[in-house]
């Protein structure tokens, strides 16, 4: 029995490390000395061939034999989630929680379901419960950090990530995420220190991109361009870094270089509106007003309520001496909520 519990816990730990991935990793139990485990493994096979009903049947049988087999509860809850029944999944895990002594693990699993359902408050509650039971629960601390980040509670997130780093000093991801929380608090120098640490531990495209963006905030455009370029070298499809580098080049008044980047970005990700908008601005800055108008027109053809595209197109029409057109666009941008556009209309479009 002792061996049996040990196996279960190992299985959970393995599973827990994968919480962030889109598709849950399903564990196959190697030891099959118990009937419950064999039924679980049969359920895994059925699940993998998308025979959900059959899988559920095997799992129910497994749990009938051993009502504390964690992997069976876990797989059952996954199948229920995939079948769109998150409530059933939570009930499954709550049953497991009652059945097991590992309340922390159960709470963590429930939190994951809530997190997957974007119910961040409930997820936080279960994670806090989990951590109250086990203050060193690495994944719970990490997930709570991410939830706090997403809820813009950046100081709380930093505290969570710091605890994670204290548990695992080589967690590059945790350094990156803490850096991002610091960045959101506009503590750019501290953020860059953490990004540096993350990069030292792992050469990752995201880390370089993120450090580049922190440097942008400090107006260190050359260094930002360097980081974005490294990110692009690590992953030539990293369209975000390509777009971000284009913006950095605009700041450097290298409009031609910026346009090249935005073109490349759109090649990597067709119809990437951020890059098309930015390219329009770069064209404007490079006095290629007609091309700028084409980009803003394109954005408006896709989203006729895009306030900034009206603003930008109005600004461009002004330079083409099309005052009527500029005023019409500024009025639209003002209607859609851009305060500055109201000022332009008042100053340049209303007869004094």
């Amino acid at each position: 029995m002792k061996k049996y519990f040990l196996l279960t816990i190992i299985s959970f730990l393995l599973f827990s490390f994968t919480y962030g991935q889109k598709k849950e990793k399903i564990i196959v139990i190697k030891s099959t000395e118990h009937q419950a485990e064999r039924l679980y493994n049969d359920a895994v096979k059925s699940y993998e061939s998308k025979q959900y009903a059959e899988a559920i049947d095997f799992l129910n049988q497994s749990l009938k034999i051993n009502d504390s087999l964690a992997t069976s509860y876990h797989l059952l809850s996954i199948i229920q989630q995939e079948m769109g029944n998150k409530q059933a999944a939570i009930q499954t895990l709550q049953t497991y929680s009652k059945a097991t002594h590992h309340k922390d693990t159960a709470a963590y699993m429930i939190a994951q379901v809530f997190y997957g359902d974007n119910n961040l408050d409930s997820a936080s509650s279960y994670l806090n419960y989990c951590i109250s039971k086990n203050p060193s629960y690495f994944n719970a601390l990490y997930l709570l950090g991410n939830i706090n980040f997403e809820q813009e509670k950046y100081n709380d997130a930093i505290s969570n990530y710091t605890k994670v780093i204290n548990i695992s000093t080589t967690s590059a991801d945790a350094y990156n995420d803490r850096a991002s929380a610091k960045r959101m608090l506009e503590k750019y120098d501290e953020a860059i220190e953490d990004y540096n640490m993350a990069i030292t531990l792992k050469k990752n495209v995201l880390f370089y991109n993120n450090r580049g963006s922190a440097k942008m905030k400090l107006e260190k455009y050359d260094e930002a361009i360097e980081d974005y370029t490294t990110a692009i070298l690590l992953d030539s499809n990293c369209y975000q870094a390509i777009n971000n580098r284009g913006v950095a080049k605009i700041e450097k008044k290298d409009y031609k270089g910026a346009i090249e980047d935005f073109n490349l970005c759109v090649k990597r990700k067709k119809d990437y509106y951020a890059a098309i908008n930015n390219r329009g601005i770069a064209y404007y800055k490079n006095k290629r007003y007609k091309e700028a108008i084409e980009d803003f027109n394109f954005i408006l053809s896709v989203n006729p309520s895009e306030a900034s595209a009206y603003l930008h197109r109005g600004n461009t029409k002004e330079m083409l001496r099309d005052n009527e057109g500029a005023c019409s666009d500024w009025k639209k941008a003002a209607e859609l909520g851009i305060e500055e556009a109201k000022g332009y209309v008042k100053k340049q479009c209303e007869k004094q």
Binding site: G20, N146, N243, N278, H312, A341
Partner: protein, 671 residues
């Protein structure tokens, strides 16, 4: 730099391949002996004009003839360039310099430096720096130009948002056209031109004498064909416009007399009077040029080389004393004046900003235009107006409309009708808002991206703070234009700030009232009742234009005027000190016209009871009458009446209407 050098080497190689330096010898032209002889004769004539007479126009004429025969002689091309350089036709000259350099880059020691000036002129700053760096002659100038090129690079990166348009052929000609000066409303422009014209002679430098032209804006806001202002011009000397009062009634011109002096002229019945030397300004043997009146015409800014001589001017100011005479010349501080040349000055109608050109401040080449503001007793550090207003060429003679939206200046920059041209700048203000989109996956494992927007905003510059009061003065009955005196008072200090006149022919007037004062504007004409207006303009009052037709009433029985600048304490009959100027106007009218008998009447709005208002208005009328009696007007000439709210001149339903109804009136009852 490496890239620039290799580009230059490649270009030079190609140039060498396609053309060769061809000498004016029989060996080069064995079959064309006659034509060669004629060409050599032209070169000789050109050289004589160039070397002995400094007549560059003639020299260019002969050199160009020789160049038609043989366009591939490096030295001749270089000399043509030098002629154009002296004639300040840089662009035309650079074509020949380029040719000379391509034919023989080692023609002489100076050509490398001049090659630098050419690239400098066309804003190829890095290439210019290269040539200036390797030039072996004119080192001091080369070092200065390298600095200018570096400034130019910065200014080019931070281009000023504006449209610059050539004002067109109605004003510009193929000759030099420069120094535009406008009335404060921007409707009339005077400028100087060295164009050919009937009776206009050539000056010593081979160009036509300077003459003054005028153009006005038509109903479509277009400049009309410029005409010569004949009464300001002289046939055999320079006449160049330098300054103009805001209303266009006074003009300052430059003439070559006494090494260059300033002259003043006033408009009378549509024509300017004979220009008179401004003796208080002109200093014997020195060069006085460019001048600008302050908004109140009481200060005159001008440029003179009296301190440094050597054609290095500084900016000075002179003020009018109580007797309306110029006195107290002061040089502006060294924040404005440098050891180099400051010339062309323009004082904005806002009463505190000047624009001037200088080749001594941190510019991008030649003369650049700068602005400075008088704040807390000091001039602020001059600000370069930036590219494209300033260029590596000579930029100067800058004026700006009272609303700050348009400027005019002259430049010999590339393009245009030839020589220096006049350009209009339409200021677009600071850069508009742009919103960039960036995206980051901030968290390592969530796969969630975070979109960010970055807004780039500029600091909004404050528009000029002044009120432009313009219009015309006419007879109330006949509607004929009237010549009148317009007095501008500061009601808080009782100071007479300025006096103006309406145009004798049209009755038109124009006043600039900088914000920050409580003004009384009094319009007076002989045989008419005066008219007073109040403009209380706090510091924060933004730019506005007010157009008015002021109808003056003849001095006849029954005519009445509102005394707009008589103020009482709230709900009392105590006169405020700000009323003094108006009361003194009434006193003067009565002393100037001793047969007049008047009624002074008090009026109120309809707030409060009839009895209360009648009593208050009677007491207020009494206060005015008592003031006049104390000043010496006999009692029998004055009647005080309080009408309460019986005679409203506006509906009492609005605050504006009630304010109009609370008034003091003056009526002639016997003459």
């Amino acid at each position: 730099m490496k890239k620039i050098i290799s580009t230059i080497i490649i270009l030079s190689f190609y140039s060498f391949l396609f053309s060769q330096n061809t000498s004016f010898t029989k060996a080069s032209f064995p079959e064309k002996g006659k034509e060669l002889k004629a060409a050599l004769k032209n070169i000789k004539k050109g050289s004589k004009a160039f070397d002995k007479e400094a007549d560059y126009r003639n020299a260019a004429f002969y050199f160009l003839k020789a160049n038609e025969f043989n366009p591939n002689n490096a030295e001749l091309n270089y000399k043509i360039f030098l002629c154009y350089n002296h004639l300040r036709k840089k662009e035309e000259g650079f074509t020949y310099l380029d040719k000379a350099f391509n034919l023989d880059s080692n023609l002489n020691a100076d050509i490398t430096f001049y090659r630098g000036t050419m690239h400098h002129y066309y804003c190829n700053f890095d290439t210019a720096i290269y040539y200036y760096t390797i030039a072996s002659t004119m080192r001091e100038q080369a070092v200065k130009h390298i600095k200018e090129c570096n400034t130019g690079k910065q200014l080019l990166e931070n281009e000023v948002r504006c449209f610059i348009d050539n004002v067109g052929e109605n004003i510009n000609s193929k000759a030099d056209d420069y120094h535009p000066i406008i009335t404060a409303d921007g409707k009339t422009m005077y400028f100087t031109s060295r164009r050919e014209g009937k009776g206009i002679k050539l000056a010593y430098d081979g160009r036509y004498y300077e003459n003054i032209y005028v153009s006005t804006k038509n109903e479509n806001n277009q400049w009309t064909k410029a005409t010569l202002v004949s009464e300001l011009n002289a046939s055999e000397e320079h006449s160049a416009v330098q300054g103009l009062s805001n209303d266009g009634q006074k003009i300052i011109i430059y003439r070559g007399d006494n090494n260059g002096d300033l002259f003043e002229s006033e408009k009378r019945k549509g024509k300017f009077s004979k220009p008179k030397s401004i003796k208080e300004v002109n200093k014997n043997g020195y060069h006085e040029t460019s001048a600008s009146y302050s908004f109140d015409n009481k200060t005159l800014y001008f440029c003179s080389d009296r301190k440094n001589a050597d054609d290095k001017h500084d900016i000075y100011k002179i003020t009018k004393n109580m007797k309306d005479k110029w006195e107290n010349i002061e040089i502006l501080s060294n924040i404005i004046n440098t050891n180099e040349d400051e010339r062309t000055i323009f004082a904005h109608p806002d009463g505190k900003t000047i624009y001037f050109s200088s080749n001594g401040h941190d510019g991008m080449g030649g003369y650049d235009i700068y602005s400075s503001t008088f704040e807390n007793g000091n001039w602020t550090k001059p600000v370069n107006l930036g590219y494209p207003i300033n260029t590596p060429g000579d930029d100067g003679h800058f004026v700006i409309t009272a609303d700050g939206k348009y400027g005019y200046y002259s430049s010999d920059k590339a393009g245009g009708y030839g020589g220096s041209d006049i350009y209009m700048i339409t200021f677009l203000g600071p850069e508009k808002l742009f919103v960039y989109n960036t995206e980051d996956n901030l968290l390592a494992n969530t796969g969630k991206s975070f979109l960010h927007t970055k807004s780039i905003k500029s600091i909004e510059l404050e528009p000029p703070k002044l009120t432009l009061l313009k219009g015309k003065v006419i007879d109330e009955d006949t509607k004929e234009p009237l010549f009148s005196n317009i007095e501008l008072y500061d009601l808080n200090t009782d100071e007479l700030l300025a006096t103006f006149e309406s145009d004798e022919e049209t009755g038109r007037f124009l006043l600039s009232l900088p914000s920050g004062k409580n003004y009384s504007v009094n319009v007076k004409a002989e045989g008419y009742l005066f008219l007073s207006q109040n403009f209380n303009l706090p510091d924060s009052a933004s730019y506005q234009e007010i157009e008015q037709t002021i109808e003056l009433k003849k001095l006849v029985v029954g005519k009445e005027i509102v005394l707009n600048n008589i103020f009482f304490e709230f709900n009392k009959a105590t006169l405020l000190k700000e009323s003094k100027i108006e009361l003194d106007n009434v006193y003067k009218l009565l002393t100037d016209n001793p047969n007049i008998y008047v009624e002074i009447s008090g009026h109120t709005d309809n707030v409060g009871s009839a009895n209360y208002n009648k009593k208050l208005s009677q007491e207020r009328a009494n206060s005015v009458v008592n003031y006049l009696i104390e000043k010496g007007i006999t009692k029998d000439r004055l009647t005080a009446v309080g009408y309460g709210f019986d005679k409203p001149i506006a509906p009492n339903t609005t605050e504006e209407g009630r304010q109009k109804n609370r008034r003091t009136e003056f009526k002639i009852v016997k003459l």
